[in-house]
């Protein structure tokens, strides 16, 4: 069976044999860069298509069905349209920041990709502080959003950016605390360690109620951090027309749009890694023959399957719930999620000390 793992080792040995150490590293960097961008483009198209289909089915509609079979080329056509469109910069805008902002958001999204393990041994950079890195870099995106909102010289944008900043900064806290729950159980910040610790069962199963709570808190926090409904206050179209990206058009708008979906993907990938074992197949401690059967499904399929399931959950939220108001949003964080995750962290620590988890 061809697995991604075999591919990478093959490539690495071949490159090192032919080019030597420093050049091989450079070549790998280029390959990784190209691969990341391709992945982004593909993910963007696929996720937008998926969102539209999910929305349509929930809304008793058919969704895109004209361009290509079942409309699968609809999103490509839309992107093409956006590329062809003129990228307007408003007169009163701060031109430099205005044009920089979409790239900031996009780069922040790209950087988080580094420590994510897509399959067994298929990871760009397995750094020792993986989850910390993720938590830190993912909050850089808010700078891009603030930049966009401020530089547009548009009051809707400014309001949207302010809302977004308040929201992302607060929800980082509970997201961080939920990540900590897993870090405590694993005893490591390294992504590969976290995944390997789930070889005898995913944390969501091994960790009992506290981990389940941490998972739900993290899911809510991810939804909020990516500005998705019901937390899409930053771009609440019935209040602020389009929020922080009101003034953007053409490709710059597309970058924001893409970054939103990439962020969802990354959020769900981290979620899957922490609580569902990333690429780790469904294992139950002790059932060796069962575990062996599960191993036949390639690890990349496990990873993408879990991630897609979580993305579907987030889409499901979006197409069901009304939007929260800005003060309710902060109430939810500071009065419910934060205290709950603090107490939960205590529970998890206690559980880890007593060794009650499986």
């Amino acid at each position: 069976m061809i697995s991604l793992e075999g591919l990478t080792t093959l490539l690495q040995t071949w490159l090192q044999n032919t080019l030597g150490e420093p050049w091989a590293f450079a070549a790998e960097s280029v390959i990784v860069g190209i691969a990341a961008i391709t992945l982004f483009a593909f993910l963007g198209l696929a996720l937008v298509y998926m969102e539209r289909k999910v929305a349509a089915l929930m809304q008793i509609r058919l969704g895109p069905n004209r361009v290509g079979p079942k409309g699968i080329f609809q999103t490509s056509a839309d992107t093409l349209k956006l590329v062809m469109k003129e990228g307007l910069t408003p007169d009163g805008a701060d031109k430099f920041l205005f044009n920089l902002a979409p790239f900031m958001v996009m780069i922040a999204a790209m950087l988080v990709l580094a420590p994510i393990a897509f399959a067994r041994n298929f990871q760009i950079w397995d750094l020792s502080i993986g989850v910390l890195y993720v938590a830190a870099v993912s909050s850089v995106a808010v700078i891009g959003i603030l930049m966009a909102g401020w530089s547009s010289n548009n009051k809707y944008s400014l309001l949207g950016a302010m809302r977004s900043a308040a929201q992302i900064v607060s929800y980082e806290l509970s997201a961080g605390l939920s990540i900590l729950a897993i870090v405590i159980l694993t005893g490591s910040l390294r992504i590969s360690d976290i995944i390997n610790s789930q070889a005898d069962g995913w944390w969501i199963i091994k960790g009992h109620l506290p981990v389940l709570i941490a998972f739900i808190v993290f899911l809510i926090a991810v939804t909020a951090e990516t500005n998705r409904a019901p937390f899409d206050l930053a771009e609440a179209e019935s209040e602020l027309t389009a929020g922080f990206h009101t003034e953007y058009s053409g490709m710059k708008f597309a970058l924001f749009f893409l970054a939103e979906y990439i962020n969802i993907f990354i959020g769900c990938a981290i979620n899957a890694t922490l609580f569902f074992g990333g690429w780790m197949p469904f294992h139950i401690g002790g059932w060796d023959s069962f575990n062996h059967v599960m191993d036949f499904i390639p690890s990349s399929i496990w990873f993408f399957g879990k991630t897609m399931f979580l993305i579907f959950l987030i889409m499901w939220f979006r197409w069901t719930f009304p939007r929260l108001r800005v003060d309710q949003l902060l109430n939810l964080e500071w009065k419910y999620l934060l205290p709950i995750s603090m107490v939960n962290l205590l529970l998890v620590t206690f559980m880890a000390i007593m060794g009650w988890h499986l």
Binding site: Q59, L159, A229, L233, E239, T241, R325, Q328
Partner: protein, 371 residues
């Protein structure tokens, strides 16, 4: 005016909402003063869709002017037509056949139901939930099809005319109405699960956009807006027209005065409308659908005023006649205009999101306000 569009001297931000904005449902222009997220003042600017319907009516005959009124509150066009027809009939002092009366009431209530269904979906959309919109439109579509069968149009019907109704009911009408009622009843629980019972929705509307009974009276709020504040103002009960005094239905009144109360009033009204339709649908009397009228209608000299309960509140039709075949002056008292005037009072001190919720529960139809 220009400096108003920037920031005022207290450092408050002034924002234009509309004339093109997703939640004003038409070309309403609100200039709102914001302190952070808090709304300090709301100033509606009207006139973007003013078509001077009242003036137009002065040059149209008493048969002709009714079609224009479908274009005022296009969501309750039957009821607008009804009000005008009643006013003309009052002047002519003609009796309407029993069949026509029943048909008119049936159409009114179906329109009310359709209008409230649309409002329900649009309110959910204002609050950020898109899916309910499609569910309510599915049901509304059935009503529209019923209307299309009988009246030949879906929105601007011109079906209720002086003397009765323009055409007889379609033979399929009764069967289709019953089918609709059955289907609608089987879907109501979805409405509750998706919106009414949803905790986010309740939090978004409870305590938002409060208006007291006294204020509602002084602003002239009618319809569900007034009834949400505990003001009994259902024209169908207070000044019954047609056969409303013989029907069993309740006036839905809530006393909280907030958006949630208005929501509950409208949902309750949908149930009452269904109750009325159920009472009538099997008891449509046989007979003429139109009284015999002269070819050219001439109202005697004098003023005539009638009022009807549209889906948004009280619609008053005031005709001044000089005895000719066209009215000397026509004035419509539209419910939306008075309800909108209370918006500033309701939304002060709330957040921007509250303003949208309040506007959604006022159920504004802009052509009705501007005319």
């Amino acid at each position: 005016m220009l400096e108003e569009l920037g920031t005022n001297d207290q450092g408050d931000m002034i924002i234009n909402i509309g004339p093109q904005h997703p939640s004003t449902h038409g070309v309403l222009h609100l200039v709102i003063t914001l302190n952070g997220e808090t709304v300090k003042k709301v100033e509606p600017h009207l006139g973007y869709i003013h078509r001077s319907i009242e003036k137009m009516c002065e040059s149209l005959s008493y048969r002709q002017f009714i079609y224009v009124t479908s274009r005022m509150d296009y969501l309750s066009s039957h009821i607008n037509n009804h009000g005008c027809a009643l006013c003309v009939e009052k002047g002519l002092q003609i009796e309407i056949p029993a069949r026509a009366q029943v048909i008119r009431v049936l159409m009114d209530e179906l329109t009310r139901l359709a209008s409230h269904l649309l409002w329900w979906g649009a309110l959910a959309m204002d609050l950020g939930a898109f899916t309910p919109f499609f569910y309510s439109f599915r049901e509304r579509e059935m009503i529209n099809e019923l209307m299309e069968d009988t009246c030949g149009a879906r929105l601007t019907m011109n079906y209720i005319v002086p003397g009765g109704v323009m055409m007889d009911l379609h033979p399929d009408f009764q069967r289709k109405v019953k089918e609709f009622l059955r289907l609608f009843k089987s879907k109501i629980h979805e409405y509750d699960d998706l919106v009414t019972g949803n905790i986010i929705f309740q939090n978004r509307t409870k305590g938002v956009g409060y208006i007291s009974r006294e204020d509602a009276i002084s602003y002239g709020c009618t319809g569900p807006t007034g009834r949400g504040s505990g003001l009994s103002c259902d024209i169908r009960k207070l000044y019954p027209y047609e056969i409303y005094d013989q029907l069993q239905f309740d006036e839905v009144i809530e006393t909280d005065g907030d958006s949630w109360a208005r929501y509950k009033v409208r949902v309750g009204e949908m149930m009452q409308s269904m109750r009325i339709i159920e009472q009538l649908i099997d008891n449509i009397p046989e007979g003429e659908f139109q009284a015999k009228t002269k070819a050219v209608l001439k109202l005697p000299k004098g003023d005539f005023y009638t009022r009807v309960e549209t889906a948004r509140g009280e619609l008053g039709v005031y005709i001044v006649s000089e005895g000719g075949s066209t009215p000397y002056r026509i004035k419509f008292r539209s419910p939306g205009f008075s309800n909108l005037s209370a918006l500033d009072h309701m939304s002060r001190g709330g957040k921007i999101g509250d303003l949208m919720a309040t506007m959604g529960t006022l159920d504004l139809v802009i052509p009705d306000i501007d005319r």
